[in-house]
């Protein structure tokens, strides 16, 4: 039936939301005909990780769905993500045909449209726009992030889009309203019950004639000593500013800012349909990739940067919850952390006189390898060059004396942004690691030629360096120096290889897990058995990749890139390398999951995982991943026999 009002109103609803807003007209009608509507009361689980691959694509119609951290997850305000009407979930799980990572829960009474998985797949086949939306969902996020980073402050275009949304997308809650003769007491009770800060007073045709906010209670009711049984019309603000639902978020932001309002009634043809608040506008734009980037790009105080740091964590938790994979996620964390760090350095550098100095901020360790997870400490240093004789120690000392206060302040600011200070003091603010190019070269020479365990440990951390901010040519010069140095020192390479082979994958002879047990800090004497995913997991891949890369003079520091490039140069089997890379990413994903679950307090145990808590499938993949690590080690042992 072409004029079926149920389908017509659904099509009209979908038209307002991406990707349906750009979808082919005929397909939209067919899509609507395949939908059914279901109801979820507050607290009900809409989509659960235990339920396996989702049977439907859910499109939130009204209400509030939250993406909860999975069971046992540490709950902080930043890690709960709220979906707005019109949002789809979970595109990822459907595309990948796997269960969602975290439960989607109705936070208030919610209606969702459900599209059966068969129709979803048919739509993928038939609608180029929908296919693009689904397959490019993450890719576009990453592309946007890179583009935004290149453009830095010029990210306004993408932001503009969010702020050009009509208010009917933002003010989606049913408005709390009453007529003018409503007793004040009733009106206040209604506001309290709905937990809103304002009530709109309407006439018989539901046109707003006044507004009363929680803010008004103090001076107009409490201080004025007014009786609560009087009509609300006595105390309301008459003829309030309103906006039509077709007005944009920008219009609302402007009105709110100009008039100092907190709540603006939204109308369709004069009839009340919603209320937009300052908070709605803020929430709409903040914890998105664009929003986070914008927050970072504009932050110029320690407080603002600290806020940006917590936004980054909230965004990552959200993306992880949506099932985004480890490789993309660690890249994203790295990209955002890089942006944040660069911003911190820029802002702090401007507070110091560094005129005439050429310097470059270096990242070491996992940050240098672009493999950051949450529990990563700061590992950084400075490399600089001064005019005149590079070997002149006095000149270098003078330059370091100017750079150190800046570097120390940057270290402190980064700590406030959620990147903890390095317990080993490997930081740019430490005079030991704020060196001239010449001094770094000499230091690297010493580590390669020296055979002490300490020198080896240092080389493992420092040789994974990467330029983060400043004059990158200094870092390139140091990399070129290292690449000339290492291949000619077989003794160093053999030591590095033996170091990489020291830790064995935690697999027994019959390939079951070998578990550790921590009894030291456990009160009842028996700790839970665990695998250390960093020490006995990720490190196996990272250390092997480093040996292959340094031996072949490869510039890359990212372990996956090192292995892939080494595959070309060192006759490693490309298929085997691909499997090793997948295995490495799986271990990283488990680490990330454990860290998100543990929350901020649990950094110490963040890499510990009891395999018994994994699903059967994940347990099998972990076993296979550790077998891949073993294969990689066997390959390394061929080149460097013990």
């Amino acid at each position: 039936m072409a004029t079926d009002p149920v389908l017509a109103s659904t099509v009209a609803f979908l038209r307002n939301h991406p990707p349906f807003d750009q979808m082919e007209e005929g397909l939209l009608g067919e899509l609507a005909a395949d939908l059914s509507m279901a109801y979820f009361p507050a607290g009900a689980v809409v989509l659960s990780p235990d339920a396996g691959p989702p049977p439907y694509l859910y499109i939130e119609q009204r209400g509030l769905v939250q993406l909860q951290p999975a069971e046992g997850y540490h709950v902080s305000a930043g890690s709960v993500v709220t979906l707005a009407p019109g949002e789809c979930f979970s595109v990822y799980a459907l595309m990948e045909k796997r269960a969602v990572a975290s439960p989607y829960t109705a936070a208030s009474d919610t209606f969702c449209y459900r599209l059966p998985v068969a129709s979803f797949n048919r739509l993928l086949d038939r609608s180029p726009r929908f296919r693009e939306f689904s397959t490019d969902y993450l890719r576009s996020l990453l592309r946007d992030s890179r583009r935004l980073i290149r453009m830095h402050g010029a990210s306004a275009a993408a932001e503009q889009q969010a702020m050009n949304q009509p208010l009917r997308h933002l003010a989606t809650r049913a408005p709390v309203c009453c007529t003018g003769d409503t007793p004040l007491k009733t009106a206040l009770a209604r506001m309290h019950e709905a937990r809103v800060g304002s009530i709109v007073v309407v006439d018989d045709a539901r046109r707003p004639i006044g507004i009363f906010t929680r803010h008004d209670v103090l001076d107009r009711v409490a201080l004025a000593g007014r009786a609560l049984d009087g009509p609300i019309s006595d105390v309301m603000t008459r003829a309030p500013h309103t906006l039509e639902a077709s007005a944009t978020a920008n219009d609302a932001a402007l009105l709110i800012a100009q008039r100092g309002l907190r709540h603006v009634p939204v109308t369709e043809s004069g009839v009340l349909t919603g209320v937009i608040t300052e908070r709605d506008l803020f929430a709409a734009q903040r914890v998105t990739l664009h929003g986070v980037n914008r927050v970072i790009a504009r932050a110029d105080t320690a407080e603002a940067l600290a806020q940006a740091g917590s936004d980054v964590r909230a965004l990552v938790a959200r993306l992880h919850g949506q099932g985004v994979g480890a490789e993309q996620l660690t890249r994203l964390i790295t990209t955002l952390n890089d942006t944040l760090t660069q911003r911190v350095i820029t802002v702090v550098a401007a507070r110091h006189d560094l005129h005439g100095l050429r310097w470059c901020w270096l990242a070491f360790g996992s940050e240098g390898r672009e493999e950051q997870t949450f529990s990563t400490d700061q590992d950084n240093g400075l490399i600089f060059e001064c005019d005149g004789d590079p070997a002149d120690a006095q000149l270098a000392a003078a330059a370091a004396a100017r750079l150190l206060p800046f570097a120390q302040e940057a270290n402190q600011w980064l700590a406030r942004c959620g990147v903890p200070l390095c317990s080993g003091n490997i930081m740019a603010g430490n005079p030991q690691w704020c060196l001239s190019l010449d001094a770094w070269r000499r230091q690297f020479d010493a580590w390669v030629r020296n055979t002490s365990p300490e020198a080896l440990l240092n080389s493992v951390i420092f040789f994974d360096f990467r330029a983060l901010h400043g004059d990158a040519s200094l870092a390139q010069a140091l990399r070129a120096h290292l690449n000339g140095l290492v291949p000619n020192n077989p003794r160093f390479l053999r030591q590095l290889a033996h170091y990489a082979l020291e830790v064995k994958p935690p697999l027994g002879i019959i390939s079951d897990f070998v578990l550790e047990q921590d009894t030291s800090d456990d009160k009842d004497g028996k700790g839970e058995p665990f695998i250390d995913l960093k020490k006995s997991g990720a490190r196996l891949f990272v250390d092997a990749a480093r040996v292959f890369a340094l031996a072949a003079g490869i510039d890359a520091t990212h372990s996956a890139a090192r292995l892939r490039e080494a595959a070309g140069k060192r006759h490693l089997d490309a298929m085997e390398v691909a499997s090793a890379v997948d295995a490495f990413h799986f271990v990283q994903q488990l680490r990330l999951r454990a860290q998100l679950a543990g929350g901020e307090q649990a950094r110490a145990s963040a890499n510990r995982l009891n395999p018994a808590t994994l699903s059967e499938i994940d347990r099998r993949i972990l076993k296979e991943s550790l077998r891949q690590a073993r294969r990689l080690q066997e390959r390394l042992a061929l080149d460097y026999p013990p």
């Binding site: 039936m1 079926d4 009002p5 149920v6 389908l7 109103s9 659904t10 009209a12 609507a32 005909a33 395949d34 939908l35 059914s36 509507m37 279901a38 109801y39 979820f40 009361p41 009900a44 009204r62 209400g63 009474d109 209606f111 449209y113 459900r114 809650r173 049913a174």
Partner: protein, 232 residues
């Protein structure tokens, strides 16, 4: 048990094909009331009429949607305008928006009603203030098809306060229930749009009924009958 009762007496003029279709309906049993609530199907109905008098006013349109297994499929709704000899009053047209031309161009009443009887099948029928819809439909089927529907009826105006006693005092009309739930009806007094809004209320009530431990269709019907006994 069959869900249509043929009335002996009046013999409406039906074609042979229509008689055969009607007979097929008469031979279909009603849905089992032992069906678990989570699986049950329902047909949610709303009618538009020339007024509110069930004895003299005419049935103008029937809208209906299906609910099955606690979900409301958007496709396959039912809507027919019954052809009227003369349009209803202007005031009345303003209520439901079905204009004079549309009324006189509607489907032949016996055909529209037969289509509805087929659509309803043996499912329990649901409406808000169901007595009115029931009376209007039965008077029309009696006149044009010579039968009355024996489908079970569930009146949401009765069952909603029983399941949500906390709201029983201040919610009377359908809008009183749907508005706080955020159920948007862009086309009030269009029979399908109203049936769809009613069906969404049914989804909420089914969820509540299950949460309160009701098991099957019969439990819900019994609760509604208990509510009628009490009177409100």
């Amino acid at each position: 048990m069959n869900w249509l009762r043929r009335l002996w007496g009046g013999r409406p003029a039906l074609s042979d094909a229509q008689r055969a279709r009607l007979q097929a309906c008469i031979d279909t049993p009603r849905d089992d009331t032992a069906t678990p609530l989570a699986d049950a199907r329902w047909v949610v109905v709303d009618v538009e009429s020339s007024g509110l008098d069930v004895f003299s006013d005419r049935l103008i349109a029937i809208g209906a949607v299906r609910v099955q297994a606690q979900a409301l499929p958007l496709a396959g709704s039912f809507y027919h305008v019954l052809r009227q000899a003369a349009p209803s009053s202007v005031e009345n047209i303003l209520v439901h928006g079905i204009g004079g031309t549309e009324q006189t161009a509607g489907l032949e009443p016996a055909e529209a009603l037969l289509a509805f009887v087929e659509y309803a099948g043996g499912a329990p029928l649901v409406a808000y203030h169901a007595d009115f819809d029931r009376a209007m439909i039965n008077r029309a089927t009696r006149a044009y098809l010579g039968v009355t529907l024996r489908n079970r009826w569930l009146d949401l105006a009765q069952i909603a306060p029983a399941l949500f006693p906390e709201h029983a005092k201040n919610r009377r009309a359908l809008d009183d229930w749907t508005t706080p739930l955020g159920i948007v009806n862009l086309n009030r007094h269009n029979a399908v749009a109203d049936a769809s809004a009613t069906a969404q209320l049914l989804l909420v009530l089914l969820d509540r009924a299950l949460a309160q431990g009701l098991q099957n269709v019969n439990d819900l019907l019994s609760m509604e009958r208990g509510q009628r006994w009490l009177g409100r």
